[in-house]
């Protein structure tokens, strides 16, 4: 139901260098802050035009706070968004392509068709 919001979280964090670092170091605090302060911002509108109804499910919130890219894939998060943000956060800790290959290997139990990414 709130797949869009998961994508919106990944999208907005990925575009901001400070938020990338904050989400890497303090995932639970960042997710909680973002859901309260940023989730309902209507992008490209001024600050007074917020929506009122967007929130994560418990499962989505937990997947985001635990950096669980396998669960996010299962929930239908857009795989490009998850991958690029997670590369930004974790590739630095590994050798060339090591992180990306391990990332794929952890998804090996998924068969076609993959979870639906339509929002």
């Amino acid at each position: 139901m709130s797949k869009y919001l998961v994508d919106k979280f990944l999208f907005t964090i990925d575009r901001d260098p400070e938020l990338v670092e904050r989400y890497r170091e303090q995932p639970r605090e960042t997710v909680e802050w973002w859901e309260v302060e940023r989730a309902n911002a209507v992008l490209n509108c001024h600050a007074g035009e917020a929506s009122t109804w967007l929130c994560f499910t418990d499962e989505e919130r937990e997947a985001l706070t635990s950096h669980d890219h396998v669960k996010l894939f299962e929930l239908g998060a857009h795989p490009f968004l998850t991958l690029t943000l997670f590369i930004a956060m974790f590739e630095r800790d590994h050798g060339p392509l090591e992180y990306q290959k391990a990332y794929g290997a952890r998804l090996a139990h998924f068969d076609l068709p993959y979870p639906d990414i339509a929002t």
């Binding site: 990925d14 894939f73 857009h78 990332y103 794929g104 998804l107 998924f110 339509a118």
Partner: protein, 287 residues
């Protein structure tokens, strides 16, 4: 009327810039061959001596987002800032500033709407690597004005493959109807089989070499009938979860025209995807 002097289709591998500029131990073993192929590909555009570039690509959730997602969008601005922080971060892509060709943008928008394509437009468009990678590979001087055209191959629901072909045909006719003496090259980038964020990503080859072989054959021979018979929105999941970008190649087949054999065909089997390069000269190869 304007003359279409070259139609060019390619992949847009964002690692090319870093691989081709790396030196010493940082230079990957495939870089020299990749540079040779790109240099030959670049020459096909240089020989055509264009004045304007129409650039078809797909935004990667940079400028365009799910709160307001167009299917097809034409940029109409005097200048375009290019490349984004996360592309600089991951691929080392440089920030760029490209000139726009607003008269041709306006013509494509007016004529495209009149032809039945409900094109979105943007007067303030920051473009990303689907447009800047072919600038880097084909026109690194970045000295020609552009008209960027973005397609949605990324955020379901997507337009049907035949719609990409139809739009390609229309773009060709519209550019040729532009009341101008300028020489136009139409350049578009897409994907062959590709997986991103899934279990088949970053393998030693693209995830589906058999699809890649067929796709290169379809494009090289302009075999739109067979391509449209075999490709559907559903079938494009099988060669890899990012393979819907192949529809931008189909758009360029529409630009080139059914049955038109490409004058330049080349490919390079790289880790994680197959690079592919095609050039058509509608009025014969330039001397």
């Amino acid at each position: 009327m304007a003359e279409v002097v070259a139609v060019i289709a390619s992949t847009h591998h964002p690692f090319y810039y870093r691989a081709s500029t790396a030196t010493g131990e940082d230079r990957p073993p495939f870089a020299d061959e990749w540079v040779r192929k790109i240099t030959a590909f670049r020459e096909t555009l240089t020989k055509a001596n264009p004045d304007v570039l129409v650039m078809v690509g797909s935004d990667h959730f940079h400028q365009l987002w799910l709160d307001n997602m167009p299917q097809f969008l034409v940029g109409k601005a005097p200048f375009y800032d290019a490349n984004w922080y996360n592309e600089e971060r991951e691929f080392g892509l440089p920030r760029m500033l490209l000139k726009g060709q607003e008269d041709l943008s306006a013509h494509i928008l007016r004529a495209g709407l009149d032809e039945g394509f409900d094109l979105a437009f943007s007067n303030e468009l920051r473009i990303d690597h689907s447009v800047t990678c072919p600038i880097i590979t084909l026109r690194p001087e970045a000295d020609l004005p552009i008209v960027p055209i973005y397609t949605n191959i990324f955020a379901p629901p997507l337009p049907q493959p035949k719609r990409f072909v139809q739009l390609g045909r229309a773009i060709r006719e519209i550019v040729e109807s532009w009341p101008s003496h300028l020489r136009v090259a139409i350049i578009g980038t897409g994907h062959l089989s590709l997986e991103l964020g899934g279990p088949r990503q970053f393998g030693p080859h693209g995830p589906d070499p058999e699809f890649d072989r067929k796709a290169v054959e379809w494009i090289a021979t302009g075999d739109l009938d067979r391509c449209l018979a075999e490709v559907t929105l559903d079938s494009l999941h099988s060669p890899g979860n990012a393979t819907h970008g192949f529809m931008d190649f189909m758009l360029m087949m529409g630009v080139a025209g059914a049955g038109q054999k490409a004058d330049h065909v080349d490919s390079l089997d790289l880790f994680h995807t197959m690079e592919a390069y095609f050039t058509w000269y509608p009025n014969g190869a330039p001397r």
